[in-house]
């Protein structure tokens, strides 16, 4: 055997030629033994970073909320049942009245009633599917974060395949999906596999999302600056925020319907509350200075910048909670990165 590594050896601690820690030692000790106090590394669950924990907490508040049976739920179910019965009764009496007037009118009413039922059932089914899909995405996000933190290859393989499956219906991701499929076979480490998938599938979408946020922020700041009435720009901001968040959710593969959208809003609200309206990368100073300088030039302009900032913040929160994987390859963008014009304007003018 080729002997390159050091030979095994041992030293008795009571040997007078050996120095142990800080104890009395000979002038030229044969060997020095330093006790190591650091504990044996135990493979704990690797900790998730703060940003990721915040995002997951926000998702749990809305998108991935587990519905518990609560008293309120029972009450709502009862109320909803009664309302549906009332509506049914009304429709029934309406149809009867129409039949009493003319046979043909009654038939038409029945046809409409059937359409109503079919449509309502379809809508309801779509809502369910949409909510379930959003929850799946949020759970996928948490699982990917976990698998990446634990460097769990087996878990990562399955999850990455699910991530790719989210974008099956998008032809422009064909190349990225193929890349991920190849990485599933070739890459050994779970951590790397998650990173590869994120880079291939999500970074292009991230760019689109950032562009959407930028457009919305710019539009809001401009409209606020020129709008004649406060109430008008309030409505406009609200409409823009709704449009933006829906668009972001769709880009990442979710399909928020009505209830799904409410859940999304709850998650965004929770994320804003947890992060205190601050994303990593931008500072309160920037926000205040941006507002301050602009507002000294003109009050309307200042409000415009502020509204633009708020829109961008909401957009970034939506981005964080809708994204099916945590930000690992790239840092999560800050307001200054998605909407630099808000700051530039205040500096140049």
């Amino acid at each position: 055997m080729i002997d390159k590594s050091p030979r095994p050896r041992a030293f008795r601690l009571d040997d007078h030629r050996v120095a142990v820690d800080d104890g009395p030692s000979p002038l030229a000790p044969m060997a020095t033994i330093m006790t190591q106090r650091d504990p044996t590394p135990v493979e704990r669950d690797a900790p998730l970073d703060v940003v990721e924990r915040e995002v997951e907490a926000a998702q749990r508040a809305g998108l991935a909320k587990r519905r518990r049976f609560k008293l309120a739920t029972i009450a709502w179910v009862g109320f909803g049942g009664l309302v549906s019965l009332a509506v049914g009764l009304w429709i029934d009496s309406l149809i009867e009245a129409l039949f009493a007037r003319a046979q043909s009118l009654g038939a038409i009413a029945i046809a409409f009633a059937v359409l109503l039922v079919v449509g309502a059932v379809g809508l309801l089914a779509r809502e369910f599917v949409a909510v379930a899909r959003q929850r799946r995405i949020a759970e996928l996000h948490a699982a990917l974060a976990r698998a990446r933190a634990d460097d769990d290859r087996d878990a990562a393989r399955g999850l990455v395949a699910r991530l790719a499956a989210l974008y099956l219906h998008r032809p422009e991701t064909a190349r990225a999906r193929a890349e991920v499929e190849e990485a599933r076979r070739a890459v050994v480490d779970g951590r790397d596999l998650v990173d590869v998938a994120e880079r291939a599938l999500l970074l292009p979408i991230d760019r689109k999302v950032r562009a959407e946020i930028a457009i919305a922020a710019r539009r809001v700041s401009m409209v606020t600056a020129v709008s004649p009435r406060a109430i008008l720009d309030l409505l406009f901001v609200a409409a823009q925020v709704v449009r933006l968040t829906r668009r972001i959710a769709e880009l990442y593969g979710g399909r928020p319907g009505l209830f799904g959208f409410f859940a999304l809003l709850r998650s965004i609200g929770a994320h804003l509350a947890i992060t205190g309206g601050m994303a990593v990368g931008d500072s309160l100073v920037q926000q205040v200075v941006g507002h301050g300088v602009a507002s000294r030039i003109s009050a309307r302009l200042g409000e415009g910048v502020l509204n633009g900032l708020l829109t961008a913040r909401v957009g970034l929160s939506a981005m964080a909670v809708c994204r099916p994987a945590p930000f690992e390859v790239d840092k999560p963008p800050g307001v200054a990165e998605v909407a630099p014009f808000l700051f530039r304007k205040s500096k140049t003018e």
Partner: protein
Amino acid sequence: MSLFTNLAFEAGVVARSLADYFNGGALRLGVTGLSRAGKTVFITALVDNLVNGGKLPVLRAAAEGRIARVHLEPQPDDAVPRFPYEEHVAAIAGPERRWPVSTRRVSQLRVTIEFERVGAWGGARAQSLNLDIVDYPGEWLLDLALLDKSYGEWSRETIAAARAKSRAPVACEWNGFVAGLDPAARAEEATAVKAAELFAAYLRQARDATYALSTLPPGRFLSPGDLEGSPALTFAPLPLDGAEIAAGSLAAMMERRYEAYKTHVARPFFRDHFARLDRQIVLVDLLSALNSGPAALSDLETALDAVMHAFRAGRASRLGAIFRPRIDRILFAATKADHLHHADHDRLEAALKLMTGRAIARAEGFGAAIDVVALAAVRATREAEIRHGGESLPAIVGTPEAGERIDGQVFDGAAEAAVFPGRLPDDPAAALAGEALALPEADNDWRFVRFRPPITRAGAPPPHIRLDRALQFLIGDRLA
């Protein structure tokens, strides 16, 4: 196995599983390991840490403070002796500080864990989990590999193994004797006794620490228990060379006894203790095999593979759990991880992964969850750094056992010493290459000495390495 014995065996397993289920459905933890792998110490440390509130930060239920109380209960099988847990704790933590003596019989213990989980309505819900653990002589485990082998197959394999180059020094006397035997000769008890004695002597010597071989069935030859001298233990393999076994010949007698051994010794042992496991931990003592050399390692690999072949692994379902429990989680553990510095633990795990590769692949195919870990149920050393001759070496400090030697030093079992055991190779395959057995110390890049148990505070469980991680993997989901 014939169809009928097979059916009867299955029926027995099902009947016992049903009885188990109606007795409150305990979780049966199979502590598997060849002799001297550390089964007894593992069970003792596990129970000690649970009952006396040891530090188990990775076991989630313990870390979250949800475990209310853990206590020992009378075990379900009245016919099996109780695991002498208190004795073993006294041996390890008492003034003698010695490891428990090698196990000679089966014993059993039931641990009840009372814990709380968050209920569906948000409140706390008290629950309890019964954990049944069985301890047994590790040598017996090898018998499981015999269950599917006929006398002819076993003879051929055993004789071929004894004639292999690596085993030649241990087996020469036995080889010489068996060469002079005629399987077709008339059956004589004296010949049979002589053959069995020599065969047993060969097995015992091969197991010795210098050789550290593992594939040595039948297990009762090494640890006979109460069967010593009975006909079921008076047989040996014969060089049949594919010849028919004539009635009344020596070979016929041996074959009958071999079958009797399987029916009366091996099969009941398997049925009573292994056919109905829920979770399994396979303890492997890689270090003594590493000390001995590549042949001992590949022999250990063969033994592990043969043993794991006998177990049933696969995802458990509710109905299946009643009729036919399956092992759904298997943990492979390289024990005595405290005998090397933690920087080498990853390499130890890699070596174990390589050695158990076949068993892992098979279990994964059945849908069981697998994990590999380097652990020490009782941590006998602490870590240090030796600076010597311009080198800085990661070392461990403990009290080596009397008679252990390394680098020309012989220890007296009283003095503490800092030991640098050498470095394991980055590529575990390097340690497996070759045929050598019982290598002298100078030929190996490493030398692992055994340590005495640590000095512990009275009443407190001794420290451990990753015992909590093993527990989290094995029973954590049932405490969630």
